[in-house]
Amino acid sequence: MSKTRVVVDPITRIEGHLRIEAQAENGRIANAWATSTQFRGIEIIMQGRDPRDAWAFTQRICGVCTVVHAVASCRAVEDALDITIPPNANLIRNLIHGMQFVQDHVIHFYHLHALDWVDVVSALKADPAATSALARKISPWPNNSETLFREVQDRLKKFVGSGQLGIFTNGYWGHPAYKLPPEANLLAVSHYLEALDWQRDVIRLHTVFGGKNPHPNFLVGGMASAINLDDTATINAERLTDIRDMITRAQRFVEEVYWPDLLAIASFYKEWASIGGGVRNYLAVGEFPEGDVRETERLYLPRGIVLDRDLTRVWPYDHELVKEYITSSWYEYSAGDAEGLHPWQGETKAKYAGPPTPWEYLQDSPKYSWMKSPRYDGKPMEVGPLARMLVGFAAGHEDIRAIVKQVLDRLEVGPAALFSTLGRTAARGIETVLLARRMNTWYDRLVERIKSGDTQTFAGAKWEPSSWPAKAQGYGYLDAPRGALGHWVQIENGKISRYQCVVPSTWNCSPRDGQGQMGPYEAALVDNHPLVNPEQPLEILRTIHSFDPCMACGVHVLDAAGNRITEVTVQ
């Protein structure tokens, strides 16, 4: 049989610009290439700046996960300058980041991923009464009424009848890979709409503490939102009550809508529990410090590495073992392309080496992406919700073990089912439930501290550059919604001399390294992976979306010498 070349560019329903090329053979994917097609050079721009400004610049790497780079940057600078932030500031950052996770994961499920599993057109055939019965069986959510489902369906009928499919135009409706009964499709479409209003409400937690969203404000040394119960312009009882209510509404939606929907939909797609596993190693840097950020044993989601899918052991993580390779990337290294460099020594010189635009195929080029290839001790690593839940499961984390077991029992599958496209999507839901619950704990602790008289939100002893050493360097870690993130900063005479980020989508979207090891996207696409109709690459979207790609985040460059990027060779 001959191989069919498949190109999906743009991959839609993601953040940023991603291209997938594949070769299909006998209804399966035989080979795959992942390409990041955008480059912004933000790390070059960091050089010579005030390190206290770095959070604002790096925050603009991504407006979807709009919290993660800012916090990682603050942590890197605080590490370099030996600043310990007040416990209140840490709790506020946890609440902000916690809500980022919850909101981001729910949006991903309904608005970016659902259309891979939910056939909108099929919802027309649903019986609203049966839909309501189905919904009430799995959840006490009060809006799951027959009236509401009928109303949503009537509107759907009207517009499908009009022939104007809008943004649903050219979707793969009726594709045989869609398996949900019409009632489940109608349920998902209805909740897709409710989630839109819900996210707008709960994300206001960022606005109370950070002034706006996207891109709320942060501060090296703590948080700028002062606490004073007796003033109108500060964090007071009125604002704290607003926060309290948002957390309650966030948790309720997660537990009564997202979680039951996810389990119900997953139960129709169990074959995807053996598809799309990919690389066999999983890395979590851990997140949500419940003490000082340096006390990594006090992270709510634990740190560690699972190797070769062995869940009996968790290996320690040491950031010194992270290296980036450029064998397949449009860059060059002074010591040659075979070298791997740790971020402290990181260097990047862009050197485009693909075909001239417009492209037809990139798969014939040895170099094919703006992403570098990060490797841990030479191994590719998957990062993200699945990695975190696997590390937590293997480490014996009680909350994680309990809920993972609940899911496996419900779907009647074993732990091996986690290493898959479906496992990735389920893990995202699992941690959303855990974090929505945990936010209550952080809120209660913050209120307890305020009650006891501690309102400090900022540690100012090292604010002035005159208090800094002539040279300093720091590492800021953070496990973001999409996975392990690291910022490395070097400071000389009060200014940034080098800045480097290794981000989740760089780990997951990385191209092949010098040993020919594929990155996680690529490896997942060739792991027992179907592709029934290359003209309608629905299956590719399922697996790629299960990673929740965030391409702007993956864009990576540093020119250590501070030079402009050198000439690009267009072949």
Partner: protein
Amino acid sequence: MLLPHPVPWTDNETLREHLEARGVSRRDFLQFCTGLAAVLGLDSLAVPRIARALETLKRPSVVWIQLQECTGCVESVLRTADPTIGNLVLDLVSLDYSHTLMAAAGTAAERALHDAMTANAGKYLLVVTGSVPLAEGGIYTTIGGRTAKTILEEAAAGAAAVVAIGACAHWGSVQAARPNPTGAVGVSSIVKDRPVVNIAGCPPIGDVVTATIVHFLTFGRLPALDAEGRPMFAYGARIHDQCPRRANFDAGQYVEVFDDEAARKGWCLYHVGCKGPGTFSPCPIFQWNTRTSWPIGAGHPCIGCTEPKFWDTMSPFYDRLPDVGGFGVEQRLDLLGAALAIGATAGVAAHAVATGVHQVRARRAAAALPVLGEGSAVPPPTGGGREGGASHE
């Protein structure tokens, strides 16, 4: 991200019919028109006119392309204050093409874009987020194997007008900060023969975006613009002149260190770097996220994100304004008083004529616009700023 609504606005339906189909009451609709009039700086007499114009409107074609960016602007639009009508506008702008959210991918998605542009050539409103990298032949951002510049030029060629949303589309933003490694520029550096309105900010407030689009739909043309191509209804006044902490500034009550006693009383942030005195933005009035708060309201100084080149001219962000590179103001602002300090940069000079809220209101009243009849062609933009305006290349 943009949400496809299950009841999109169809081609032959008026907005009134469409709203009925969606279950929006007449009362809610008029309430929205009243709110919109306030946002646009028009008095209540304009409400019936806005309502009439919107009701009889047939669905315009809007194409939204995303170039070199972080998607924060799309997220911001998703957080507009009025859920019902906000969704409507979202639905409308996302109707033909939006690669963040559409169901189709790859060639099917590209075909949808091509079809939308061909079917509505010369008539659609083009919305752009993200900048255009020009260095090295534009290789730093490609979609479907084609460069951002090529995609923008093609999309702009058939557009009636262009709305550039956010600092990236406005002037390049963070990737255009020194030394601008990818040669990033804003939309108006590429599109010279079409009206371009810049919704400034990193990101802008979502409500400004929807208000601008609704303005276009209601009056058939873009709102009055300042020298930067920004709508006057939103960017006509300085933060400093609208700030609730202005009284503290005038009284010499300043936060000197974060979390000090003054910070816990909500005093002025000028001494810890606030760029409000050099920034034209509706933040204090519109506020953020269904009017929950805004940056200064949450205790952090303004970083000036609606001004061109703010990453370089407004940083270091925690330095006091006259010390900030790019301003070159000799005198200390707090000695000089607010109004004098502002003429220092070319980008904001055009505003010096009218910094007071009172003057802004007067100008808004004068700019009350006629409603265009059905089927009118789109006239050129109003507002004298752009012809002789400052360049931001």
